[in-house]
Symmetry: C2
Subunit: 337 residues, 2 copies
């Protein structure tokens, strides 16, 4: 709080195709004086997530676009450093949605106190936060896996995919990850315990990718958790068993507006598949149950996770652009303190 | 039964692209002698349906391919003309799956007696048969429309689509048909009571088709019954409201193997849509309820239907090829007697 100012990042312009650093602007702002009932939070970590790309554009989406000139939205974890609200004490650890900035002010709502005794603070932005609940919802409420089924998840080493796969393993499924690069695939199999992982970057075309997926799904695919879109979705559709379920969480390959067709929608009919898109923030009723289960698994070490941590708010744009290109390895965070 | 022979049509070869007449062969066969327990049925009408195209090809589908050299599968209605089974009497009107032939033999199973007092025999191959139940299942079990919602159905003048739309109107929905040509569209609106119908043949490209669909769906689309595939699916996906439901019954545009991509699958996520393929024969549990409702509506004149009737078994191949090209107008039948 030196000089009573802090840093924040606002949306300076909308991307025309790929996101570039000059879509963002770093600003200084005075640390606000608290009014009665307000709480000041020093953010420790900012979460970077693919959904933010969608908010940067105008046009039809499931949420309003991020306004220009305002602080980029984003989940944060931090610590109460000043309070004029009797419900909150200095030192409380909290999760909030303060966005890309070092401080946030709450009127006492919009923040949840978290227990860091057995779970690290940053995990509340990952496996025990929105990405974890996203995994939990898509897997349990849409795919609804049965023991013995084959479940495939793309972006398998990421914040969502890693939880999907570990939960599916705990449910007794055969679990296949799809990830970019040998390092990520090795991690998914050796550290997270997936049965196999397909390195999509090692396939020279969709036909070879199909052969690779077929090789590790000899009994077909019963459930697919879609984080990516593009070629892998086509390949998986062609491997679906009857009554397969596909949870569509992200279609990151298309965020920049490029064509990303499903080439063979007839597979939906052939497999009598159910494909369902969802946004986890619309299913708040499941969050308490999901967070309880996820927290227990993380505290027990049954769900492991990995983080990519960028240092300092100023590094957020570059880290976010890297995330959209798959350069991160595990949950992408920005350390703010 | 002159000369004690009858005609039947077998699959002579598998289509390499579009179906051609020489994929079929007309044969003469002796009318079988009945063994104890058997029933001989003279088929009056043969149903021609798009699913038959799928059976003609090898490769992964939801059903085994039609064997070469065997009678083409197909639903039939007819009359018992001889019986050595005490449960069946000469004169009984029955629905069966005797395929593309003038006679069929049953061991007493696989046929259902139908009442033609208030419902014409041929309707049991249409609105009160498999196409009707297909419409009923996709609409009620997948789309599950609520009064006031906007429901779109492609191939709207066809055997399935016409029932979908009339059931949706009875459910209090705004109903938009999609059909090829002004005559079909006029029929759908003026005779069947749809709110509007889009003539997809009048659109010079997908963009114009989108404008036409948008014009008649000012409040977006809540449910879509997919009989066709191709451009119209993309257009509808782009108009879906949040939590829309898409029942995928047929993707006829792609039966011949041509590319028929979904260009914008991101719409699934944006709308949190649910897309589900289904095969009505896998949901036999709903047939009694569906047929009871459909029969009541048809007898009351609340569900109207139209038939395209080809004369004589020899005309079946040409009529089937026409069906795949959308040349029929209403339920395509072949009159066999």
């Amino acid at each position: 709080m030196s000089k009573q100012t802090y840093q924040r990042i606002v949306l300076a312009s909308r991307p025309t195709a790929a996101v570039t650093p000059d879509n963002f602007r770093l600003e200084q702002a005075p640390v606000p004086e608290l009014a009665d009932g307000q709480v000041l939070v020093r953010n420790h970590y900012l979460s970077l997530d693919p959904y933010m790309r969608g908010r940067m554009s105008e046009g039809k989406s499931y949420a309003n676009p991020q306004p220009l000139g305002e602080v980029m939205i984003g989940g944060t974890v931090g610590e109460v450093v000043a309070s004029k609200n009797p419900k909150w004490n200095v030192g409380d650890k909290v999760v909030g949605m303060f966005g890309w900035q070092e401080y946030g002010v709450s009127d006492g709502g919009g923040i949840q106190k978290v227990d860091t005794t057995h779970i690290p603070l940053s995990a509340y932005l990952g496996s025990v936060g929105m990405p974890g609940v996203t995994a939990w919802y898509g897997l349990n409420k849409i795919i609804a896996p049965k023991a013995g089924e084959t479940i495939v998840v793309s972006a398998a080493s990421g914040a969502v995919g890693s939880v999907v796969g570990q939960l599916a393993k705990l449910a007794g499924c055969r679990v296949i990850g799809v990830a970019g690069g040998r390092d990520k695939c090795d991690y998914v199999v050796k550290e997270l315990g997936f049965d196999a992982c397909v390195d999509y970057k090692a396939a020279k075309d969709a036909k070879e990718l199909y052969a690779m997926v077929k090789d590790v799904t000899p009994d077909g695919i019963d459930g697919y958790f879609e984080n990516v879109g593009g070629d892998i979705l086509d390949v998986v559709l062609a491997r679906l068993n009857a009554f397969a379920r596909v949870a569509v969480c992200g279609l990151i390959a298309g965020y920049d507006g490029q064509d990303m067709p499903i080439r063979n929608p007839r597979a939906i009919l052939v497999s009598r598949a159910r494909i369902e898109g969802f946004i986890v923030s619309e299913h708040m009723d499941v969050w308490p149950q999901a967070l309880k289960e996820l927290g227990t698994y993380v505290a027990q070490g049954k769900i492991k996770f990995r983080e990519s941590i960028a240092e300092g708010l100023a590094s957020a744009p570059e880290a976010f652009i890297g995330l959209l290109k798959g350069k991160n390895f595990g949950k992408q965070l920005v350390k703010l303190v």
